[in-house]
């Protein structure tokens, strides 16, 4: 594909969508805010942003008729970026409120262990476990902005990197998974749209992956 890919940003609540919309536009995408299944027609990629708890998010996605189309999108391995809660929803469920989530990835969302402060708010280092084009041109252990108290925990072998899902880890108290990828799906626990130049670079890399898909 040449030109500007069309990226759907899923709107399922009340959070700030201005930042992600503007950031994706800045790095070369056209953005469509998606509130209903029909908004996903013809798009090249889906971005699920969001902060907060999983259960109310799943209720709102259900109410908007979006859980089925998003699950189908993920099952078809089409370009997808989950940010913060948008990543957490990819796991099987959340310990925060026992929500049942998409289950694209094995494991659950669990409270950060031994964290000196909670929520984990601020800039922290994203230390890579393996190479991936989403981090092209970005130094290892670059700082990204986090706002969360829970993170996805992969079971056993997956947590050890045996199946290559884990892209990066970050330490606050103990180390947790801060970026994942499988096929065309990428998930980040931090907020690239609020992480300055390195954040924009990551989003530019995502748009490049969408173009190449």
């Amino acid at each position: 594909m040449s030109g500007r890919p069309l990226v759907a940003v899923v709107d399922y609540g009340a959070g700030n969508l201005v930042s992600i919309h503007q950031a994706l536009t800045t790095v070369g995408a056209d953005v469509r805010i998606a509130e209903a299944p029909m908004d996903l027609a013809g798009v090249d990629a889906v971005v699920v942003p969001g902060v907060g708890a999983a259960a109310p998010a799943m209720v709102r996605l259900d109410g908007q008729g979006l859980t089925g189309p998003i699950a189908a999108w993920l099952a078809a391995d089409r370009p997808f970026l989950g940010i913060c809660l948008g990543l957490q929803l990819l796991f099987e469920g959340s310990d925060e409120d026992d929500a049942v989530t998409f289950g694209t990835l094995p494991g659950r969302t669990v409270r950060l262990v031994d964290a000196p402060t909670l929520p984990h708010i601020g800039w922290n280092q994203v230390e890579r476990s393996r190479a991936h084009p989403i981090f092209d041109g970005i130094e290892d252990a670059a700082d990204y902005y986090f706002v969360h108290s829970y993170a996805g925990a992969l079971p056993g072998a997956a947590a050890d990197g045996a199946d290559d899902i884990v892209l990066a880890r970050t330490t606050h108290g103990r180390s947790f998974v801060s970026a994942v990828a499988r096929g065309s799906m990428v998930g980040v626990q931090f907020h690239p749209e609020r992480s300055g130049p390195d954040g924009l670079r990551l989003l530019a890399n995502f748009v490049e992956l969408v173009r190449a898909a």
Binding site: N16, Q22, V51, P119, G122, W123, D143, H191, E193
Partner: protein, 258 residues
């Protein structure tokens, strides 16, 4: 490792950034989105807008300023001043803010903290606590921009606000605000030791050494200041260099294009 944050605060009144001493004698400091972009470029870790006239004036202009800023500065933005309802908070977030800071309205109706945290997550709810010293190791909460004492003990209110759902506390010493006398590290230490959430120090910064003290002696996770940045007394990079030299973890300023 989690970085200690440096946060420029933009007090906004009538579309302009202003700064006074002890919340009065306001001086014009510039255009909000323009200053915000400059600070982001110079390495600010976050931005805070405080709408210091919101309680008595119209609010539409603030939403416009928030949106213009969010489109120019790709760092987190907190907005405070005059938010009294869940719906007002929703509108500020939709305009491009990541967090809302509650102050007077939360003291008047503590249930507002819980309602906002339930709707948007506690990470979006900052409770701002303006304090005045009433004795050795004793501080009272004051509201309405420092004009009205409440009789509330600052430590007790801090703990209650966190129990209700505050994800961060923005702790200001009115005694120090705009005076350059340094942060009240005893106040910061007392509050940061009694809550699990991050504490943002505010009120009294004169130079980089004060930022170091707020973190090292006060236990603050983040440090907020206005005048010294607006007037270019110190650059954000100067402050971070001093913090790094003191062994504190900071996000090093990307090569500024200033």
């Amino acid at each position: 490792m989690l970085r200690r944050r440096v946060i420029p605060c933009l007090d906004v009144a009538d579309r302009r950034v202003v700064k006074g001493t002890r919340f009065v004698d306001l001086v014009d400091e510039g255009d909000p989105p323009e200053l915000a972009e400059r600070y982001a470029r110079e390495g600010a870790d976050e931005l805070v807008f405080l709408d210091i006239t919101a309680a008595s004036e119209r609010r539409g202009t603030l939403l416009d300023i928030v949106e213009r800023t969010a489109r120019r500065a790709f760092i987190p933005l907190t907005v405070g001043g005059g938010v009294r309802t869940v719906d007002e908070m929703r509108r500020v977030l939709r305009a491009g803010a990541d967090k809302v800071s509650l102050n007077t309205a939360a003291v008047a109706e503590p249930g507002l903290i819980a309602a906002c945290a339930e709707r948007f997550g506690r990470q979006a709810v900052v409770v701002a606590i303006d304090t005045r010293a009433t004795g050795p190791a004793a501080w009272e909460v004051v509201v309405q921009g420092g004009r009205r004492p409440t009789g509330l003990d600052a430590l007790a209110w801090a703990r209650r606000a966190v129990d209700l759902g505050a994800g961060e506390l923005l702790v200001t010493s009115i005694d120090r605000d705009g005076t350059g006398a340094g942060f009240d590290t005893a106040l910061l230490r007392a509050i940061s030791a009694s809550v699990e959430v991050p504490v943002i120090a505010s009120g009294g910064a004169a130079g980089p050494a004060d930022f170091v003290a707020a973190v090292r002696d006060g236990g603050a996770d983040a440090v907020l200041a206005a005048s010294i940045f607006h007037r270019r007394t110190y650059a954000i990079g100067d402050v971070k260099a001093a913090m790094a030299a003191a062994g504190l973890p900071v996000r090093l300023v990307p090569q500024a294009v200033a």
